[in-house]
Amino acid sequence: MSQEIIADQVIDARGSYCPGPLMELIKTIRKGEVGKIYEVWSKDAGSIRDIPKWVTKANHEMVGVFEENGHTRFVVKKVR
């Protein structure tokens, strides 16, 4: 998967602890438009399990999970 995906909105949740990053994503997606791409930055280990699981449950698209220096980028497309 290319790391050059350009997100419509970046949610920098590196200062948040579990379940903060997931809840910030949910809050943003709730208000967002279908088709938009959202990127969450998280330093919390729990996000690796929670965010993809939530994206699947909510029937959105997990575009990719990328490890960066000290944090993880979760790229999610709102599809409904």
Partner: protein, 384 residues
């Protein structure tokens, strides 16, 4: 106003656990050094944790109140006012009455408020147990409940006392068992998270109990709408659950009187350093308790521990121009696992709950059940 005063003026906003403990510690330790004013819109301190017991007994709420003046140190002035605006640039707090007060140091401890409007259909349809009126209304609804789907859970994060809806779910099970109605009652628990609770080890424990008791857990259920005509609650994730009785913790918001986004976020949660409890933007402002954006449970125990740290830091700053007390995220929650047994979760920012606390027993139940006596005499004084 304050420029003519010799002593620094500390203003504490909020007459709940955090505000009262800060007031008492400062009143006792710094009476000659500072002037202290506690601002509250309520004449009484109310002990909220006992509300869950009122759902299942016939007692009134009188013993959960104490007049503020009786629990606050005499060196502290009490002002009965409702805050409507805070101007952190000019150190001024404005009240609904039109009055205002200036401060040199400010402690924000005004707790959380409930936002019933943010979930369509909530008002008039969903029950909860987060204030006196709603608790008594739910008690009546439980008494007259004849069977069907009871749906409990949480509408949105964050909320106060994160363990309370799980406790009430377990208590409901035992309540209906006692009434020999378990065959007529299906209990569902709605969790916005990928498990019953935010701490993995505790979550596993609760999920096992849910399974054993036949309580259906709906993970990743972020409430979207309540449809009264269908008696259904829907989630952002696309799930729909039917209810005969809906018990949903309402969404919470922080301080409505702060429009400075450097001090509080859009939901009104005050942003402070997670250890020093000092505002990052305004060093003369501290915040404790439910009103903070801290990554820890909004609970009486955390407000209590934070109040001790904040008051130490303010005093040290006034005396020596530096601070050194740190809050480590300590939280302690007694968890009702039935009507007469409880376990305890004791954890910090970095330490998971102690294993010993996971064993439900009568002793923890009695500690929780009778804690209010110790709360008014001991906890609020700040001596413990």
């Amino acid at each position: 106003m304050n420029s003519n005063q010799k002593k620094p003026h500390i203003v504490i906003l909020g007459g709940g656990t955090g505000g009262v403990v800060v007031a008492n510690l400062l009143g006792r330790k710094a009476k000659k050094l500072v002037d202290i004013t506690l601002v509250s819109k309520n004449e009484n301190v109310f002990y909220e944790p006992d509300l869950i017991y009122r759902l299942f007994d016939k007692k009134d709420l009188k013993k959960q109140y104490r007049p503020l003046r009786k629990v606050v140190n005499k060196n502290v002035s009490i002002l009965m006012e409702e805050v409507v605006h805070l101007d952190p640039q000019n150190h001024v707090v404005q009240f609904k009455s039109g009055n205002e007060i200036c401060y040199d140091w400010l402690v924000i401890a005004t707790g959380a408020r409930y936002d019933y409007e943010s979930v369509t259909g909530y008002a008039g349809e969903a029950h909860h147990f987060y204030n006196e009126e709603a608790t008594l209304k739910l008690r009546d609804a439980l008494e007259s409940f004849e069977g069907g789907n009871i749906v409990t859970g949480v509408a949105d994060l964050p909320y106060k006392c994160p363990i309370a809806p799980i406790e009430v779910t377990f208590m409901l099970y035992h309540y209906f068992k006692r009434r020999k109605m378990l065959e007529q009652v299906n209990i569902h628990y709605l969790s916005p998270l990928g498990g019953a609770f935010s701490i993995d080890q505790a979550s596993e424990k609760f999920e096992k109990q849910f399974e054993k008791k036949g309580i259906e857990l709906h993970e990743f259920f972020n409430t979207e709408e309540i449809i009264p005509e269908k008696k259904a609650v829907t989630s952002l994730e696309g799930e729909e659950v039917n209810y005969d009785l809906l018990i949903l913790v309402p969404p919470h918001l922080g301080a409505t009187y702060i429009d400075d986004r450097k001090l509080a976020n859009e939901q009104g949660w005050v942003t402070v350093d997670k250890e020093r409890l000092q505002s990052i933007a305004y060093p003369n402002i501290f915040a404790v308790g439910d009103t903070t954006e801290l990554p820890i449970s909004k609970a009486g125990s955390t407000a209590h521990y934070q109040a001790k740290v904040a008051s130490k830091n303010i005093l040290r700053l006034i005396k020596e121009g530096r601070l050194n007390a740190k809050y480590n995220g300590h939280a302690q929650c007694f968890v009702m696992m039935g009507l007469t047994s409880a376990m305890v979760l004791d954890f910090t920012y970095t330490r998971p709950p102690l294993r010993l606390g996971y064993i439900p027993n009568r002793l923890f139940y009695y500690i929780k059940k009778y804690f209010s006596r110790f709360y008014f005499r001991g906890i609020l004084s700040g001596r413990v």
